[in-house]
Symmetry: C2
Subunit: 330 residues, 2 copies
């Protein structure tokens, strides 16, 4: 059974998940362990993964082939079965590893990557994410869902077939809490939503604005941690991604398509992480928070120091990035 353990000093929860050690990538000093030749996400290999939780089919194709498929992670960091139990061990705190760990296989085609998707393909992925969050939040043991995408070795991907991961947690992780608390403090002080204030300022001066459409803006954030880091933020107040209407997903797909194309034109094939920053599951109506998407290209191998210290040195100012991307004609 996986276990959640809390650092007694800074309150950070860590998942201790021994089953993960069985993964093909395993522990290795080698910078680039060979990737498993068999692609478990390929059509025809569905027997290599646990049964799908959700499948979207191409209804127009005679064979009704699938387009997006959500499956449980074969090496889950957390499990749905069991009882949520908190326990003290001397001065330490731990918790049973209740939760869910799913994989959203974004395309049947192993050579097609998210940065090359068309708007329809992106939209289908977004719909699958929304549907899984809406389903999982009915389990009231779950407090937060992490949605993230690692693409490329430098970004931590071990499977090259395009996919997104979902981890549902019985706690709100530290980084999300900090963001929520920061936004709450700003709201108490100013009586305004900090994200909407940021959007206002970025639209007014434009120097960090990359692109916009009626529902979203994409900016290079003022305190960017990484070169070419971008945020996509909805323009209307909305704390929870899963409350998006269909038309809002369409505009999100449009801006994500544009942003990924711009990044690819600027950087070539690039490794990156995408993380959905969302409200806690049972708090969909927070007035001070705004769900958003953070895209962080991984251009240099700097992970070690930064994930150890939480401290970032970025050689590329966001104004330079935004200016560069704005000038690209797609």
């Amino acid at each position: 059974m996986p276990e959640l353990r809390k650092d007694p000093i800074n309150g950070r929860w860590v998942i201790i998940a021994t089953e993960r050690a069985k993964r093909p990538a395993g522990i290795s000093r080698e910078p680039d362990p060979p990737i498993d030749e068999v692609d478990p996400f390929l059509p025809g290999n569905e027997h290599l993964t646990p049964p799908a939780i959700l499948t979207y089919y191409d209804e127009s194709s005679p064979q009704r082939r699938w387009l997006v498929r959500v499956i449980p992670n074969k090496f889950p960091a957390l499990r749905v079965e069991g009882e949520l139990r908190r326990e003290g061990v001397g001065l330490y705190d731990k918790m049973t590893g209740i939760g869910a760990h799913e994989v959203i296989v974004e395309t049947p085609d192993r050579n097609r990557h998210f940065a090359q998707f068309n708007e329809n393909e992106i939209q289908l992925v977004l719909r699958a994410i929304r549907e899984r969050i809406r389903d999982l939040r009915r389990d009231i043991r779950l407090q937060y869902i992490l949605i993230f995408k690692n693409d490329g070795r430098l970004a931590g991907a071990t499977q090259p077939h395009s996919h997104t991961q979902l981890i549902a947690l019985p706690i709100v992780p530290k980084n999300a809490l900090e963001e929520l608390n920061g936004a709450k403090e700003y709201f108490h002080f100013k009586e305004r939503n900090v994200y909407l204030d940021i959007i206002d300022q970025e639209l007014r001066y434009g120097e960090r604005l990359v692109t916009e459409n009626p529902d979203y803006v994409a900016i290079a954030p003022f305190a960017s941690r990484f070169p070419f880091e971008l945020w996509v933020v909805p323009r209307v107040p909305m704390a929870a991604f899963q409350t998006c209407r269909d038309d809002q997903l369409t505009f999100l797909a449009k801006i994500l398509w544009r942003v990924m194309r711009l990044l690819e034109r600027a950087l070539g094939v690039f490794a990156y992480n995408i993380v959905l920053h969302n409200a806690p599951l049972q708090e969909e109506n927070l007035p001070y928070y705004q769900w958003h998407i953070e895209i962080t290209p991984r251009l240099t191998r700097v992970g070690g120091f930064e994930s150890g210290t939480g401290y970032f040195i970025n050689p590329t100012p966001p104004e330079v990035v935004a200016d560069y991307l704005r000038k690209i004609k797609l």
Copy 2:
């Protein structure tokens, strides 16, 4: 001039340092850019680096060759010259990038690595760090000094010649603040130092204890983020590393030597980060804090997701690590 920028939501400061982009490693999609053939840290190449700030010589050698050399970073993230100025930009906050960025070259021998150092070599490095901190803390603009070591590509090292980095900052970084605040809260609640409580508990039960000597313990921490993560903590109350006496540095060198040997026996040649967690420069006597050293081997490339989310999944329980390391005969 480098600039410090604060994220308006979570309060994280980022260094925007455009000069860093000129480094040989630069921006690249390639996982392993070729390392510069010329080793600027080699004896005879001293003209390739800025003049040394501190040098320890081998007084017994006829040529008086150097053993440890501290130099300014050629591509500094922060600079000592200039005025410390805070400024608002709309809702954002920024600050001039005042500080220092130094490199401690740990050995003249490019083929000798920290994990293979003998106790005397380790002690000399520790002495140099202590001397630099004691010197820099006289500049009252500086609030915190980060001391960290990246060894190996997976740990973010771009220079294979064994070295440690020093970054002096005009702010206390977020992660340090969180640790300090967590320790302070525990102290207010329990009227005890959390680190000393941890040491007590680990010595009593022993399952996460790796090794100890009269002045220090080495443990695999309860909420380890990484497989084979180890902490070295002093047994006597001491918030600031630079207040160590010589005999305390000797015992620190002894336990570090042992810990690095154990890790190398367990893992072979391995990539790792070492970070000194220290009290803020002007607060050497905090009763609730304990300086300590965190060693995090980088066995898998998982940095992307983790540095984006602050969330960690660790497949190897610390009890297994400690048990394994305790059984190794050196």
